[in-house]
């Protein structure tokens, strides 16, 4: 008896992974998944698969082994199918390994796919255990093949590059970071329309065309990946975009601005730039006889990063004046974003959700006509409490001292 059990238990050691045993060499690690829709309604899938051999150094086995062209550490594959899963399986006709999605870094939709509605293509990704819910989602403007093939000597592949750009988001706050899980949450929740950042391939202005010499370093790549702006959805369809400033306006209202450069234009053409440190926001609904009214309370802290004007920052009243200007600038960004969202009739701010949370009975009455009749005419008061904490290594501005010397 004991021997039998011991034998069986030892046998378990041999069953590593059972039927699902996978050897590392047999997997094609997908780093980016892009979903496109053809005019016929068919799904067109572009996946970026990692080519580890190119990273391992040496040219052997790399995609382009010739010495003059640097080898690529990825390959892009395209597949079509009536559904996403059909397209995924179609990949097997071209990729000699099993595409393995758990290491995907980003999930992309082309603008066309997003305009047709993302729910039907997203079902596969939510159902599948291989796609993680923590990866960021993007809408791609322009050609997705172009985007996924932007050469770059520093970053290993475009997908990783996108991941890095997301990590640096709080340097500008010019686009939201939306994980797949959050995106799904917004799609299903009441009173909150979905949004996600926008990415495009742009011409790289640093590229200079010059005759190539034998020992010259590789030229700057012709194209560059750029993230910025917000794609706005109604239900599951893309309806429009916010530009970068409007995107930050949205993020202010969401309490998600973790940094960025806030340019304050004072009277004349004097400009002070504030480095935003942190922000917090509370959305409060109020019931009035004329319908719900909202207050957005934003608390922000920042440092002076640059004062390109003759201001004496050692004076308290100047700091107060700058704080007021800062509050006004934030308010302007929020209101600009709100105006755009109202035009698009998409409640990306989640005012409906806030109403639902605080006044569920009122929300039930307004739910049906919210996006068409209520939200576009919503009264929203933006209150900003902005604080200026530090002024960097000096107080008076350089310009002020230069000018005082001239006098």
């Amino acid at each position: 008896m004991r021997f039998l059990l011991a034998g069986l238990t030892a046998g378990l050691l041999l069953l590593v992974g059972c039927w699902d045993m996978r050897e590392l060499e047999d997997l094609a690690f997908v780093t980016a998944v892009a979903v496109d829709r053809l005019p016929s309604g068919e799904v067109r899938l572009v996946v970026q698969a990692f080519n580890p051999r190119a990273l391992a150094g040496g040219t052997q086995g790399a995609i382009t082994p010739s010495a003059s062209v640097p080898s690529k550490c990825y390959r892009n594959y395209e597949a079509r199918g009536k559904t996403v899963f059909a397209a995924v399986r179609e990949l097997a006709l071209k990729v000699p390994k099993r595409p393995y999605f758990t290491q995907s870094r980003v999930l992309l939709f082309t603008e066309g796919a997003a305009r047709r509605g993302v729910a039907e293509v997203l079902d596969f990704f939510e159902r599948s255990v291989e796609i993680r819910k923590i990866i960021p989602v993007f809408v791609v403007r322009g050609d997705v093949l172009e985007l996924l093939d932007v050469p770059n000597p520093h970053e290993s592949c475009p997908a990783m590059r996108l991941e890095g750009l997301v990590r640096e988001q709080s340097r500008t706050s010019f686009f939201p970071v939306v994980t797949f899980g959050e995106f799904l949450g917004m799609l299903v929740s009441e009173g909150q329309e979905a949004y996600c950042p926008v990415v495009r391939a742009e011409r790289n202005p640093t590229q200079k065309l010059r005759p190539r010499e034998p020992l010259a370093p590789a030229p700057e790549p012709a194209m560059e990946i750029k993230v910025g702006g917000t794609a706005v959805f109604r239900r599951d369809r893309l309806v429009g975009f916010l530009n970068e400033r409007e995107s930050r306006g949205l993020l202010w209202a969401k309490g998600k601005v973790g940094g960025g450069a806030l340019v304050l234009s004072l009277e004349g053409d004097k400009e002070v730039t504030v480095d935003v440190l942190r922000s917090q926001t509370r959305i409060r609904p109020h019931l009035t006889p004329y319908g719900p009214k909202f207050t957005v309370e934003i608390r922000e802290e920042g440092n002076v990063a640059e004062a390109a004007c003759p201001l004496d920052l050692s004076k308290l009243e100047v700091v107060r004046q700058l704080e007021a200007a800062q509050a006004a600038a934030i308010k302007a960004e929020v209101e600009q974003a709100l105006r755009r969202a109202k035009e698009l009739k998409a409640d990306i701010f989640g005012f409906g959700a806030a109403l639902h949370r605080h006044y569920p009975q009122e929300w039930k009455k307004l739910k049906q006509k919210w996006s068409e009749e209520v939200f576009p005419y919503l009264e929203v008061e933006v209150k900003v409490d902005a604080k200026l904490r530090r002024t960097g290594l000096r107080s008076k501005s350089l310009l002020q001292e230069v000018e005082s010397r001239r006098r």
């Binding site: 008896m1 059990l5 069986l8 238990t9 378990l12 069953l15 992974g17 059972c18 039927w19 699902d20 255990v129 993680r132 819910k133 923590i134 990590r167 994980t179 899980g181 799904l184 949450g185 299903v188 929740s189 009441e190 959700a353 639902h356 949370r357 605080h358 006044y359 569920p360 929300w363």
Partner: protein
């Protein structure tokens, strides 16, 4: 040939009671609760907690009336031989019924979330064999290993949840009582039933060395279980929102997959850790039910030992687990609708009935010697 089954400490009994509930409850409770009660899910748990306490008190009171016997042994004494045997058989069936339900749940998560291509029977067979081995070794071994597993399981569980604590948004718990108390009450059914499983103390009491503490262990077990379920429900609804959780089959699993740290990537992707501790938890959930069922069955049949029954019963349970549900939707609907009521029937209704009748008839064991008439030879302490 009367075999002494050994002694377990009160702490080990408490561990047994925790393990018998924990592993499946944390996996399914958030989804069921979110479906029924939405953002008031935590309220459901509070109600379930009260329910669990009631069951813990009833079952401990009953167990303490007959501290040297199991419920199978004293049910005929309370209700008369015929009815008592029937009730005894219901208990036997209940333990096996939950055991094969657990086997199936285990298999479903493994095939859904981790290894899609492996047939479910492989997981069920492996888990059952391991469980058979543990039961072959007897109660003391089960309890000692269980103690070790829990010492790893519970801290790891809380540690993993601490990792997502930063993503909890209190907004997700509003609106509060949107549709009144109805939904939280309905949502309390399933977790309440799960907590009611601590009634297994009815089978354990004779083996506990310090029987006076049986009530305390049961209540402790319910408190620990309540805290575990509470953190997982608060974690799931707080991070994902009730709407998302309600649509997930295994919310706890999805929750761990969401752990995300931009700065400390090593803390990400903890689902492998979750799988490890959960499989251990599942093994003990199965073992605790399986053992209780075997013990009950052997006593019901009047056998001296349960050991010859281990493998046949194991095979039977494995087969039942495969045949009883057609697919995952069937299993999930069963978990939410049928299962809670059916086990409440045993844990609350039958146990309560036995206690009531015993109290009315004034039956209780007199200081360690239950029956004056030599019956003790057959049914003393842990003799099986």
């Amino acid at each position: 040939m009367v075999r002494e089954e050994g002694r377990i400490s009160a702490l080990q009994a408490c561990g047994y009671q925790i393990s018998i509930v924990l592993a499946t409850a944390i996996l399914f409770v958030p989804g069921i609760v979110a479906q029924k009660a939405r953002s008031d899910g935590w309220l459901s748990l509070l109600l379930a907690f009260i329910f669990g306490l009631i069951v813990a008190v009833i079952s401990s009171k009953l167990a303490l009336r007959f501290p040297s016997q199991t419920v199978i042994q004293y049910a005929p004494r309370i209700l008369g031989p015929f009815l008592g045997k029937i009730v005894g058989f219901i208990y036997v069936y209940y333990f096996f019924y939950v055991a094969y339900y657990v086997q199936r749940q285990f298999g479903e998560l493994m095939t859904t979330a981790y290894m899609q291509e492996t047939p479910i029977v492989v997981f069920i067979a492996i888990l059952t064999l391991l469980s058979c081995y543990a039961i072959y070794q007897g109660l003391e071994v089960i309890c000692r290993v269980n103690q070790i597993v829990l010492v790893i399981f519970i801290p790891a569980f809380f540690f993993l949840l601490a990792l997502i604590a930063k993503d909890i948004r209190l907004d997700n718990f509003l609106p509060f009582l949107e549709n009144g108390w109805g939904p939280p009450l309905v949502g309390a059914l399933a977790p309440g039933a799960w907590m009611g499983e601590v009634a297994v103390i009815l089978m354990l009491t004779p083996f506990v060395s310090d029987r006076r503490r049986v009530l305390r262990t049961s209540v402790t077990a319910v408190v620990v279980l309540f805290l575990c379920m509470l953190v997982v429900v608060v974690g799931a609804i707080g991070t994902m929102g009730a709407e998302v959780v309600a649509r997930l089959l295994f919310p706890a699993f999805s929750l761990y997959r969401r752990i995300h740290f931009a700065t400390i990537p090593i803390l990400e992707r903890q689902d492998a850790v979750f799988m490890m501790i959960w499989v251990a938890g599942m093994l003990f959930k199965l073992t605790t039910f399986f053992y209780a069922g075997l013990l009950a069955l052997s006593q019901w049949l009047g056998l001296k030992t349960y050991r010859p029954l281990i493998f046949p019963t194991g095979a039977l349970l494995a087969a039942l687990s495969l045949m009883s549900w057609h697919n995952i939707s069937d299993l999930v609907a069963f978990s939410a609708e049928v299962f809670p009521l059916s086990i409440d029937f045993v844990n609350l209704f039958l146990t309560g009935l036995l206690l009531l009748v015993a109290a009315c008839r004034g039956l209780r064991e007199v200081n360690g010697s239950p029956y004056a008439d030599g019956e003790e030879v057959k049914g003393s302490a842990g003799a099986v």
